[in-house]
Amino acid sequence: MISEIAVWLVFFLPLASFVAIAFVIRPFLNGYAVTAGYVSILAIATSLALSVWALGTVAHEHTSVEFAPHRWLTIGTLEISLGVTLDSLTAVMLLVVTSVSLMVQVYSTGYMKGDPGYARYYAYLSLFTASMLGLVLASSLVQLFVFWELVGLCSYLLIGFWYHKPSAAAAAKKAFIVTRIGDFGLLLALLYLFFNQDKFPAGLNALNISDINDAALGVLGSNVVTWIAVGIFAGAVGKSAQFPLHTWLPDAMEGPTPVSALIHAATMVAAGVFLVARFFPLFEASTTAMNAVAVIGGVTAIFAATMGLVQHDIKRVLAYSTVSQLGYMMLALGVGAYGAAIFHLFTHAFFKALLFLGSGSVSHAAGGTFDMRYMGGLRKVMPWTYVTFLVGSLSLAGLFPLAGFWSKDEILAHAWGAEGAVSQVVFWLALVSVFLTAFYMFRALFMTFEGDFKGGAAKDPKADAHGHHGEMHPHESPWPMVAPLVLLGLAAAAVGFIANPITDLGVVPIHWLTTFLSEGAAHETVEFNVGVATISSAIALAGIVLAYTIYGVRRPAISPEAMGRWFRPVHTLFYRKYYFDELYEGVLVRGVFYRGVAQALDWADKSIVDGVVRMVDRLGRNTGRAMGQLQNGQLQGYGLAISVGVLLIFGVYLLFR
């Protein structure tokens, strides 16, 4: 049994590390910035150990562990409390967050070595980790919202870490604002829940997550539940970069690569999936909401994958891949495959973090560029990076027996078996995405590691990171970077077995993870579907083979350039990201809003509202001046006026007597 203190410590240790770095090391001991990394790593390692303990407790007890919440704010009927929930979902998320964060932080000691903002970097990473852990532990919706915004803050700070780069500063702002549009929906859902507080049975709190899931279905009408679920989902769409709020994530690659691995691949962007999973009973009660989740997820999966096909920047390929895979998870939730979605979140965290860290390692070797057109031939000089990147790619493509195979197959099998037209449609969307995923991933792999080295950062006009010039000599990265790659590679290969859909394996019984996550509730597990698995594997292989014939051989039968020519309009459409940035930023924000509405209101404020004020002012002055001119000091004038006045009064008196 785990004590409440221990659970809180999982959150408080990284927070303490943030406080220590931000308030002591950064301002006073910046000469010893390297200690910031050690402090942060020590804290997260301890959190990882506690998380394992927590997971063990939940697995052993077969039930969630409840602790009484603590009062934070009480006003009338409003009671906001803070507490920790420890159920299977939280326990799995804790493990994902702490382990990936640890890997990334170790890796960063190599990757960020010598950066002038080293201490600041670790302060942000610690704050992010604490916020993310706070988010998955939260027992009340307000608490969840607080950490939800705080991870967004850390994302903002870390995307804009190199704030002197205008592109980084712009990307940071964009990420914050676009996700905030989604958060607006989440906020409305929160308000609507509190609005319905008096419908809840006495003793239950409309802002408490478990109370919402337990009681909401019984006391709220189906319309209300739908609206609340849709609001929550809007938050998830923003955070998980789902269509149509996906535009911020590719730009977020401006941040340091380990940050992309941790925040923009493994954990924070998956928070949207977590959020829907957290309120899954609520979503299940509304067919409309479930269908919305499935369709948005399915559309995003294929839509993002198409953009990933044509990017030159290896991190952008991975970013679109992340959007696409998150769409996969949403799709899974939408068709009711709760366990499978979280399972995919789990495996994806490892292989995508691995791929991002691998791309960082490659870039490190190539002098700081991320443009694959200037890479190539790195297989021989960076064997460790190559092998781990290959494992990650195969896992992402979903080949047997790697982790990605099991989780993706579970989703496909669910969608195939689920009833309703929506499930059928998203199944086919998902299947096409399998092909696209395999293709873009191996395109990236071949462009990066095969062929001849094409000069790296020295040849790339846009590269600026580490100041290498002249001839490049790529080299394998130092061990603090390689060791996390190897560990994550092992995870990307092996963690699939915990779901284990085929047969009992002694310590890991059949469907272990799914059963564990459902905690005995009625989320059904699907049987392993050999047909679906075979077809999806064949499709993935086809994608790999196609990528090989175009990018993997020295003299391809079909050259990439020829492909680009043949499909010119489509290629342009994909490469320009379907013109969404132009639509949002150019047309809507700059055109309609800034030059239209805002300019008009600003003009009205100056000319009309303040204009009236100035008019009144002028009227007053002019009247005053006119009156003043009457008093010119000439006695004859005054005498005349008095006489006329007296006569007038007398006349009026006579008339109305």
């Binding site: 009480t74 409003l78 950490f147 002197h164 712009a170 905030r180 906020l187 509190f194 805002a598 209101l601």
Partner: protein
């Protein structure tokens, strides 16, 4: 009827005035003037903390009362000397203490001419504001409300920048206009009920036959508060006055003077006319959403840093109106607590913002946003302050701005669901202009022309640190302030809830 004389509030109100007299008559030399002003400000800060801490939030009601009955005792005119503190005023007294301190300390380095006069006026201003928040006799309230104009006029027109005389005059005329209506309202109430006692008035009004319809009296009084807050379209004095005032005066103006409007709305409008308040809540909600969105959209277009912050204040004061409109719904005390907390928190956040803009202006001699840029590379500590102020302004959790906004939304939603939902889009707009402003001034490449800029000295950072600490403290554990506010507004909210449906039409 609260009686007694503990002297604590009298000291808090008149200590700055005594300091002003001391400086005006006895202290020679700029250095000594600064020292004395600093000591007074510190004493006032300590005093306001003591008062806040000593306020017994469980007992509620008026405490620490200082009352001299029939201070002016003509047969037809009975005016009391009457100061008192309830849960609504206690945090505002604390806010005045904090911002008064910040304003005076930050002026040490930026005010170089006519130093003695400057600090005299600044101290007089503090007396006036402290007085408004604690006066419980309507005439005293009104006198102190008017007193505030005198120092403000001189502070803006002498130490200001830009079109300072125009702005000072505009500010004074606008406020006078409101005060004129307010005075009529006060007198109507006096001749209808025979008392200026603000604690007795709610009951007296209920039983009395007013000389004018209650709605009209409400309107007369509300006009004064609406100009002060300000409510659209009575806001155009604000950007001018804020922009042209010296830094510390902008801090006081945005930090506490605007709050006099919101305070009046709760202390007078809501308390004395619960029925009218209930009936007109829709108007407050509408005014609130207009202020929030109009203010935010116009803020986007501003290119002068100070003007940008000034317009953002209009948007943020809209939240106060929205919070007050919650009186018509089931969660009225949540909304009113939120509105009060928004006043407190906006005081600290915008105070900090103006302070930092002042520090930038002192160094770069420009506030024109397109000319600034890359300042974070030159002045990292200042950039951190800007980031905290900006994030608090856009309502990020962990800062006090979030709690206030959340309470306002939670309170107003049951009463005005659609209006609240539309207002909530303000959180996206706010994020837009704040982050854009930070991006254009703080981030971006190092610019050569700002090569000589250096971070503020530790002494200049003291006021920044004080405000940052308050913002974070209230953000992390809001109950320390919100519980006091709740104790103050709960009875008022209850009274409005208990208004019979057909109270008055």
């Amino acid at each position: 009827m609260p009686e007694g004389f503990s002297g604590l509030l009298t000291t808090a109100v008149f200590l700055p005035l005594a300091g002003a007299l001391l400086i005006a008559l006895l202290v020679k030399g700029d250095k000594r003037v600064r020292a004395v002003a600093g000591i007074i400000a510190l004493a006032e800060l300590v005093l306001s903390v003591v008062i806040f801490v000593n306020y017994d939030r469980d007992a509620a009601g008026f405490q620490m009362v200082d009352r001299v009955t029939d201070w002016v005792g003509a047969p037809s005119l009975k005016i009391d000397y009457f100061l008192g503190l309830d849960g609504l005023s206690a945090p505002l007294v604390l806010l005045t203490g904090i911002l008064g301190f910040v304003a005076i300390i930050s002026s040490f380095f930026s005010v170089k001419q006519r130093v003695r006069e400057y600090f005299v006026w600044l101290l007089v201003l503090q007396t006036a504001v402290m007085g408004v928040f604690t006066a419980l006799d309507f005439i005293m309230f009104f006198l102190l409300w008017e007193l505030e104009l005198v120092p403000m006029f001189f502070l803006i027109s002498i130490w200001g920048s830009g079109r300072r005389e125009y702005s000072a005059m505009k500010f004074v005329i606008f406020t006078f206009l409101g005060s004129a209506f307010m005075l009529v309202g006060i007198l109507v109430l006096y001749f209808s009920t025979g008392t200026f006692d603000m604690t007795a008035l709610p009951e007296s009004i209920e039983g009395a036959r007013l000389l004018l319809p209650a709605g009209a009296v409400f309107g007369l009084l509300f006009a004064g508060f609406a100009i002060k807050l300000p409510v659209w379209p009575l806001h155009t004095w604000l950007p001018d006055a804020h922009t042209d005032a010296p830094t510390a005066v902008s801090v006081m103006l945005a930090g506490v003077l605007l709050k006099m409007g919101g305070y009046g709305m709760i202390r007078v409008s809501a308390t004395m006319f619960p029925g009218v308040m209930d009936d007109l809540a829709w108007l407050l909600a509408t005014a609130g959403v207009v202020n929030i969105l109009y203010g935010a959209v116009v803020t986007m277009r501003q290119t002068d840093l100070k003007r940008l912050v000034a317009f953002s204040s209009i948007s943020h004061m809209g939240f106060v109106l929205l919070g007050l409109s919650a009186v018509a719904g089931a969660a009225s005390s949540v909304g009113m607590t939120g509105a009060s907390l928004q006043m407190f928190t906006h005081g600290t956040i915008t105070g900090l913002m103006f302070l930092l803009v002042g520090l930038v202006y002192d160094r770069a001699h420009t506030r024109y946003i397109p000319d600034l840029g890359g300042l974070a590379s030159r002045m990292p500590a200042l950039a951190v302050g800007f980031l905290v102020a900006g994030l608090a302004s856009l309502g990020l959790p962990g800062t006090s701005g979030f709690v206030a906004e959340l309470l306002i939304f939670l309170g107003a939603f049951p009463a005005w669901s659609w209006i609240t939902a539309i207002s909530a889009t303000g959180v996206v707009l706010t994020a837009g202009y704040i982050l854009w402003m930070i991006q254009r001034t703080m981030f971006g490449p190092k610019l050569e022309r700002w090569e000589t800029l250096k971070d503020p000295s530790p002494w200049e950072l003291v006021p920044v640190a004080v405000l940052v600490a308050v913002i974070l403290l209230v953000g992390i554990y809001p109950s320390i302030v919100s519980d006091v506010f709740r104790a103050g507004v709960d009875p008022i909210a209850q009274a409005i809830q208990n208004v019979p449906e057909v109270a008055l039409r």
